[in-house]
Amino acid sequence: MRSLERLTLAHLWVAFAAFAIACFFGVWQMWARSPLPAPFVTPDNYFLAVTEHGVSMAFVLTTFFVMGFGYFTAETALERPLPGKTFGWIGFILGLIGAAMASYAILSGRASVLYTFYPPLTASPYFYLGLVLVIVGSWIWCVLMIVAMAQWKRANPNVPVPLAMFGTVANAIMWLWTTAGVAAEVLFIVLPASLGLIHTIDVGLTRTLFSWTLHPIVYFWLFPAYIAFYTMAPKAAGGRLYSDLMGRLSFVLFILYSLPVGFHHLFMDPQEPAGFKFLQMFLTLLVTVPTLLTIFTITASFEIAGRLRGGRGLFGWIPALPWERPMVLATGLSFVMLFFGGGGGLVNMGYGLNAMVHNTSWVTAHFHLIFGGAVVVMYFAIAYEIWPRLVGHEPSSSMPQRIQLWLWFLGMMTMSLPWHWLGLQGQWRRVAQFDYSNPIIAAWGPWVVVSLIGGLLLLASALLFVWNLLFLYRKPEAARLPFRFALPVHPVTHVPASLNGFGLWNVLVAFLMLAAFGWPIAQAFVIEAPHAVVHRVDRGG
């Protein structure tokens, strides 16, 4: 079993190392944008930093965390050794080489195109090849997850797949669908351009393909948090999961409605037809359903726990919950950030209101709250929860963990709430410096400084997190206990067959993707959209 711990720890440490580095870049960017004088500010350095922050956070932290957590879940939830660990290591090494290549390209100034690429700006091939390797590594993980579940099902006929594993495989399957778009963009358009094989690019097509990936990738990052909500938080709170079925349904709805909705990133683009934008907007609206189902189910699970611990009355169960446990505290904080981030998301969701906030700090605030807040705080909690099993020691105290979680929450709120306001005022994104002599912009200054303070709190929290993992787990433990997930109120004895596998959902996703993306992709070829000339951003070259 030790081999599982090694594999999981390797992944998680790569994830958290990238995370810590990215936090430094993030704070410096906010400093550069603020009215306060900041060191090293040049456009080159700024966009290099934005690229490194985005790639580290969105590609490295997430992919490695999801993979590591997935391996851990597969073995602990299925209670049998993970098949093909060697392949897991191969995937890990491919991903690590890829992350190193991409980082080399970025930090040497050869890839300041941000993590969303923006062709026809074209970076060094090392950047794209590196990201391709990370994705290929994650594909190996997907296959291993699917195989692990299939083997378990063969060995356990007529028994529902444990919810944690069902969620993990749902994520693996969604990720395979998700990566198809960006893989097509990189392999057929961007990488050939970067290698000098083609000199012009159909920019509209690259944007359509990237949008295929751009929304579900966020749900790929988010899945571990939801798996923790359903299968870890109720147990940590001392209760039971209110409904196992809702967990399954939510995971399936994520597969269905996170994929055919990427156009909400392109609402303001000229190349996507209005009707298709409406279709994808409609489907985007439905993504709120699984989240709201989850909120209710988990809150109800917490109510069970609180009442079991003696909570009385309508809300008496809330103070009765064991908030001193990191997983419980993180879930609560996560829900608060999900509330604000989700509210911002509702505004982004419609193309009317989107016009008010597109590419402003409002959007930055939204995804920092959802991903950087609600999801990453659960990454912390998951790490704290599984660390004893990984390193064989209990934490000597949970106080530093709670301080770290609170710091993260306060930092995230302090940083992102002003961003909403600034976004509504029109503060636009991806700017190295603002001209604070302009009266419109001058009024933003104080709020930018407030958000910078939030950023500093976040950095402090990030460093404390790494410290906690390195030094807090010192209390010796006699034997490694088997890791247990939360139980539902009643043992899961029966589940519709279609919620015990993914066959039906794959067919429906194929149908939805065809409806949502079929013509918009074909359009690029039918109308023969004119190409734009490749613009090389390769300062290190």
């Binding site: 209005a274 009707g275 409406f278």
Partner: protein
């Protein structure tokens, strides 16, 4: 979604074995399929039919036109008529960066290029040349795209210079590309202003930062090596001071106007005379080489 949960309830209620059997699950699966299809149909009906027709009516568009616009088959919004445009093209440069031109610049006929250079260009553009004059720009290590564009503009009169116009009149597009590419690889290097530390701090700021208040992007954002700017951007480092200053002044006054979409005119017009002098001096003083890809 309600029908999902509703049918789960029914399935669960009926189920004896742990995983429900085909017939019972079939009911749930059918509901799921019907729900998804219904959602797409409703969204499609609203987005492709009802909304565009309703909007198109007030704009005087036929239902067919409105639907075509929502599908993207016809250009325009279903809510209003496309504006008309009656005007004639008055291009400031006739250069078009087609893939063929770019390909030729990447893979020129080298022999052809060096022949033309040796027979026509060297007398003025090489320091040891017979007709050398410090107001004439360096060509060695200059971007092939920049040289090609200027040759093309001289030929078409977009950039006015009688001597150059006469010289390039007999060159066709391929020949211009060949000779441009010839000069580009001559020194195998461009000069990097970032490698020098001296210089007026205000000028260095303009070069590296630009000035947001004046709407001046940094010089380096286009003129830096592989900075991602317009591909016809010339390299400035090591260029002759007199030439740089003269050209900036010409752009500022609008005497030179072959920069597409006033990219250089709009910037030069915002620079003070002393800034132009110092910028020209700054770039001319950059002597360190930086290898180019």
């Amino acid at each position: 979604m309600p029908s999902f949960t509703a049918s789960i309830g029914e399935v669960s209620a009926m189920t004896q074995p742990p995983i429900s059997e085909e017939g019972q699950d079939g009911r749930f699966a059918t509901r799921a399929v019907v729900t998804v299809i219904a959602i797409v149909v409703i969204a499609g009906l609203l987005g492709f039919v009802l909304i565009p027709i309703a909007q198109g009516q007030s704009a005087g568009l036929s239902a067919f036109q409105a639907i075509c616009r929502s599908l993207g088959i016809q250009p325009g919004s279903p809510a209003f008529r496309q504006p008309s445009s009656a005007t004639v093209a008055q291009p400031v440069s006739m250069v078009a960066w087609t893939p063929e031109v770019i390909e030729r610049l990447h893979r020129p006929n080298e022999e052809n290029g060096s022949d033309i250079a040796a027979n026509i260009c060297v007398s003025c553009h090489i320091e040891s040349g017979a007709a050398y004059d410090p107001k004439i720009p360096h060509m060695e290590g200059q971007s092939a795209f920049a040289i090609y564009k200027q040759l093309h503009d001289f030929k078409n009169g977009a950039r006015v210079n009688e001597l150059m116009a006469t010289i390039v009149q007999n060159l066709d597009d391929d020949q211009m590309a060949d000779v441009a590419a010839h000069f580009a690889v001559l020194t195998k290097g461009a000069l990097d202003p970032r490698t020098i530390s001296s210089g007026d701090p205000d000028i260095v700021r303009l070069v590296e930062f630009g000035n947001s208040a004046r709407g001046l992007p940094s010089c380096a954002s286009c003129h830096g090596v592989h900075a991602g700017g317009p591909i016809e951007t010339p390299t400035l480092s090591g260029q002759r001071k007199d030439y740089l200053a003269t050209q900036l002044q010409a752009f500022a006054k609008g005497e030179r106007h072959n920069d597409i979409y006033t990219r250089m005119r709009s910037i030069a017009a915002k620079l003070r005379d002393d800034e132009i002098e110092k910028l020209a001096e700054y770039y001319s003083a950059q002597l360190l080489f930086r290898p180019q890809d």
